[in-house]
C-alpha cells in the first residue's frame, strides 16, 4: 500500500525528524495500528496473548518449583486445594496434583511446551506450504497439478486425523519409547504436515497473479534465477494473507497439540504440555479434585480464544475491502 493514500498520516517533516525512530513512528501512524486502537476487544486479546507468552518465557522465574525435577517434588504436598479454599497452603496458589506438583508452576511450564510446539509447528507448516505454493504457482504445469492434487486430497481429511497418523507411524518407526524431546519434534512435524495446505493454496493464488506483472518480467529480463525472483520479489507481495493464516493457525496448532497430548499421543507425563496436564487432571475429577484439570483448561481456553480474536481482527484489518 502506498503512503500517499493514508489519510491520517503525520507530517513527513515530523516523521523523519529522527531517523532512528522513524520506523516506529510509521508503525504508530499506520492503518493497522489505527484499527488496533479502535478495537478494545483486540487490545485486550493482544494483552492476554502477550501475557501468556511472557509467562511462558519467564516460567522458571515465576514458578515456585521446577515440575520436571522429581527431586523438588514432595508427596507430602500432594493434592492440596487452591490457596483461597479452606485447605489451601502457601506457596501453592492453584493447589497441587497427586505427585505434589504445584499446579501453577506446571501450567507455566506446560504453557511453554504448548507454545513452543505451536509456534514451531506453524513455522514448519508455513515453510513447507510457502515453498510448495511458490513452486506450484511459479512453475505451473504438471508440478502445479501434482502439488495441488495432493493438497486437495489432504484437505478432505481433518488435520487431527493426519496428525494422529503421522504420530503413530513415527512411533512405530522410531520405537514406542521416544524421549520427550523427540516427541516434541514428532509433534511439530505432525502439525506441520497437517496444516501446510492452506499456505500453499494462498501463496499459489497470489503468485499466479503476481507473476504476470511487469516487475517479475523485468527481473526475468535482467537474468535473475527463478529462486531469487520467487523469494526476493514475489514472496514479499504475498505476505499479508500469510500472516493472517499463521495467526489463526497458531490457535489451531495449539489445539491440535493439546488434543494429541490429551489423547495420550503427544507430550509424555514427564514433560507435560497443557493437554497432558488436562489428561492427567481428568483422572482426578471424580475424586472432587477439580483444580488439577480446571486451571490448565482455563489457561488453554484463554490462550486459544485470545489468539483467535487477534487473528479475526488481523484478517479484517488487512482486508482492503473492509476499510
Amino acid at each position: 500500500m502506498s503512503d500517499a493514500v493514508v489519510p491520517h498520516r503525520a507530517e513527513p517533516s515530523a516523521a523523519v525528524a529522527r531517523a532512528g525512530t522513524s520506523w516506529f513512528r510509521r508503525a504508530l501512524d499506520s492503518d493497522i495500528f489505527y484499527s488496533f486502537r479502535r478495537s478494545k476487544l483486540t487490545m485486550v486479546a493482544a494483552a492476554v496473548t502477550l501475557l501468556f507468552f511472557l509467562l511462558a518465557i519467564f516460567a522458571s522465574v515465576l514458578s515456585v518449583q521446577n515440575p520436571f525435577d522429581p527431586a523438588q517434588l514432595q508427596l507430602m504436598n500432594s493434592r492440596i486445594s487452591p490457596l483461597w479454599t479452606a485447605d489451601g497452603q502457601s506457596p501453592f496458589l492453584l493447589g497441587t496434583d497427586e505427585q505434589g506438583r504445584d499446579v501453577f508452576s506446571a501450567i507455566l511450564y506446560g504453557l511453554r511446551i504448548s507454545l513452543v510446539v505451536g509456534v514451531l509447528g506453524v513455522v514448519f507448516a508455513g515453510a513447507l506450504g510457502i515453498t510448495l505454493g511458490l513452486i506450484a504457482g511459479y512453475v505451473g504445469g504438471a508440478v502445479d497439478g501434482l502439488i495441488m492434487r495432493i493438497a486437495d486430497v489432504q484437505l478432505t481429511f481433518p488435520a487431527i486425523l493426519i496428525a494422529l497418523l503421522v504420530n503413530g507411524v513415527a512411533k512405530s518407526v522410531f520405537g514406542n519409547r521416544l524421549d520427550a524431546m523427540s516427541t516434541l519434534v514428532v509433534l511439530v512435524v505432525a502439525i506441520g504436515l497437517s496444516f501446510w495446505v492452506q499456505y500453499a493454496r494462498t501463496v499459489r493464488g497470489s503468485v499466479m497473479v503476481e507473476k504476470n506483472k511487469d516487475y517479475v518480467a523485468a527481473a526475468q529480463l535482467i537474468g535473475l534465477p527463478a529462486p531469487i525472483i520467487m523469494l526476493r520479489h514475489v514472496l514479499p507481495n504475498t505476505m499479508g494473507p500469510i500472516l493472517v493464516i499463521a495467526t489463526i493457525n497458531l490457535a489451531l496448532a495449539v489445539i491440535t497439540e493439546a488434543t494429541l497430548s490429551f489423547l495420550g499421543a503427544g507430550m509424555p507425563d514427564t514433560m507435560p504440555s497443557l493437554g497432558t496436564l488436562i489428561r492427567i487432571g481428568n483422572n482426578y475429577l471424580f475424586a472432587g479434585e477439580w483444580w488439577i484439570v480446571a486451571f490448565p483448561g482455563f489457561a488453554l481456553a484463554g490462550l486459544i480464544l485470545s489468539i483467535n480474536l487477534l487473528g479475526d481482527w488481523l484478517r479484517d484489518a488487512l482486508n482492503p475491502k473492509l476499510r
Binding site: P158, I160, L263, G264
Partner: protein, 326 residues
C-alpha cells in the same frame, strides 16, 4: 452431467488408490509384521519361515496387489494387541460410532437451525447476542474441554447422566444399539452434545448468514407485497431456500464428525471405532491404524462424491464449501 459424474467418480477412485498406497506402506514398512508375530527368542530360520508364509518375500507390487485385494473384501489382517482380525474388531465397534455421529448431527441440525433462524429474525435481542457469543466460544474451546466440562457439571456435580460407556445395549443381528434402553439413551446425551457442538455453531452461523441474505432478495419483497403472513414468508419461503446449503454442509461434515468422534469417544470411553484407533496409535497397532484410515477415507470419499453430484442436481449456483479447521 454424465461426463461430470464419471470424472468425479474416477477422481474418487484415484484418491482411494492413493490412500491405499499410504495405508499399505504403513502396514508393510512401519514396523516389521514378523516381529509382531514371533517372540523375541525365535531362531532366525523360523523367522524366515514366518516371513515366507506371510508372503513378505514377494515383490512389493505383488504384495500391494494382495493387500488391496484383501482390503476390498474388508480383510485387514490381524491386530497386534488383540490378536483378532481387524475387520471383526471394526465391525463390532462401528454401530457405536455411527449411532453417536448420527445423534450428534441431528442435535446439531435441529438446534443449529433453530438458533440460526432466531438470531437472523431477531437480530438485536439479548438472546441472539448470547447465541453469537456462545458460538464464538464453541469454536474456540477444544472438544475435549467441552466434554470434561459437561462431565463435571452433569455427572460429577449433579449426578444426572453417566460419564462413560454406552449403557445397556440391545443386539439386533450384528448391530448393537443403545437407542432402545433408558440407560443407553441417557449415555448418548452428553457425548452427542460434545460431538455436535462444533457443527451446531457452524450450522447456526451459516443459517443466520443465509437467512439475512435471503430476506434481502426480491422474491421475499414480492411475497411481502402479496400480503403473505410473516410466518409464511419466513418459514415457507426464506427458510426453505437456506436449507439447501445447510444440508450440503451437514452432509460434508458427517465425515469429519466420524473422525472427530475419536476425541469424544476418548473423553467418554465410548466403545467405538475412534477409541479403537486412539488405542491403536498409543500401542502402535499398525493394522488397525491402516484399516481405520481406509475405512474413514472410504466414508469421506463417498460422501464427497455424493454431495458433489447432488450439488449440480439441486442447485448449480452452489460452489463453496465450508471446512472444519482442526
Amino acid at each position: 452431467m454424465l461426463a461430470f459424474t464419471l470424472r468425479r467418480a474416477i477422481q474418487a477412485i484415484g484418491v482411494m488408490i492413493a490412500v491405499g498406497v499410504i495405508s499399505f506402506s504403513m502396514f508393510r514398512f512401519a514396523g516389521d509384521p514378523v516381529n509382531q508375530i514371533v517372540s523375541l527368542d525365535t531362531p532366525p530360520a523360523e523367522r524366515e519361515a514366518v516371513r515366507k508364509s506371510l508372503g513378505l518375500d514377494d515383490p512389493v507390487p505383488v504384495q500391494f496387489a494382495r493387500y488391496f485385494g484383501n482390503a476390498v473384501q474388508f480383510k485387514f489382517g490381524v491386530s497386534y494387541q488383540f490378536r483378532q482380525p481387524v475387520s471383526s474388531l471394526l465391525a463390532e465397534r462401528m454401530p457405536a460410532t455411527l449411532e453417536l455421529a448420527i445423534c450428534a448431527t441431528i442435535f446439531a441440525m435441529v438446534f443449529g437451525i433453530l438458533m440460526g433462524v432466531y438470531s437472523a429474525l431477531k437480530r438485536d435481542t439479548v438472546l441472539a447476542k448470547i447465541f453469537q457469543a456462545v458460538s464464538l466460544i464453541g469454536i474456540s474451546l477444544p472438544t475435549f474441554l467441552i466434554g470434561i466440562l459437561l462431565i463435571y457439571l452433569f455427572s460429577v456435580t449433579l449426578g444426572w447422566l453417566p460419564s462413560f460407556g454406552r449403557g445397556d445395549v440391545v443386539r439386533l443381528g450384528w448391530w448393537t444399539t443403545g437407542l432402545l434402553t433408558l440407560s443407553g439413551l441417557k449415555a448418548l446425551i452428553l457425548p452427542s452434545i460434545t460431538l455436535g457442538l462444533f457443527q451446531l455453531t457452524l450450522i447456526m452461523r451459516l443459517v443466520r448468514a443465509e437467512m439475512l441474505e435471503v430476506l434481502r432478495t426480491d422474491y421475499i419483497r414480492f411475497a411481502r407485497a402479496r400480503g403473505l403472513t410473516t410466518r409464511a414468508i419466513h418459514f415457507g419461503h426464506a427458510l426453505k431456500n437456506t436449507l439447501v446449503p445447510v444440508i450440503t454442509v451437514a452432509g460434508l461434515q458427517f465425515g469429519s464428525v466420524i473422525a472427530f468422534a475419536i476425541i469424544t469417544e476418548t473423553v467418554f470411553q465410548w466403545p467405538g471405532m475412534g477409541l479403537l484407533f486412539v488405542q491403536a496409535v498409543q500401542n502402535v497397532d499398525i493394522p488397525i491404524m491402516a484399516a481405520y484410515l481406509l475405512m474413514v477415507s472410504l466414508i469421506f470419499v463417498t460422501i464427497n462424491l455424493v454431495v458433489d453430484i447432488l450439488y449440480t442436481v439441486v442447485d448449480p449456483r452452489l460452489r463453496s464449501t465450508i471446512r472444519r479447521p482442526a
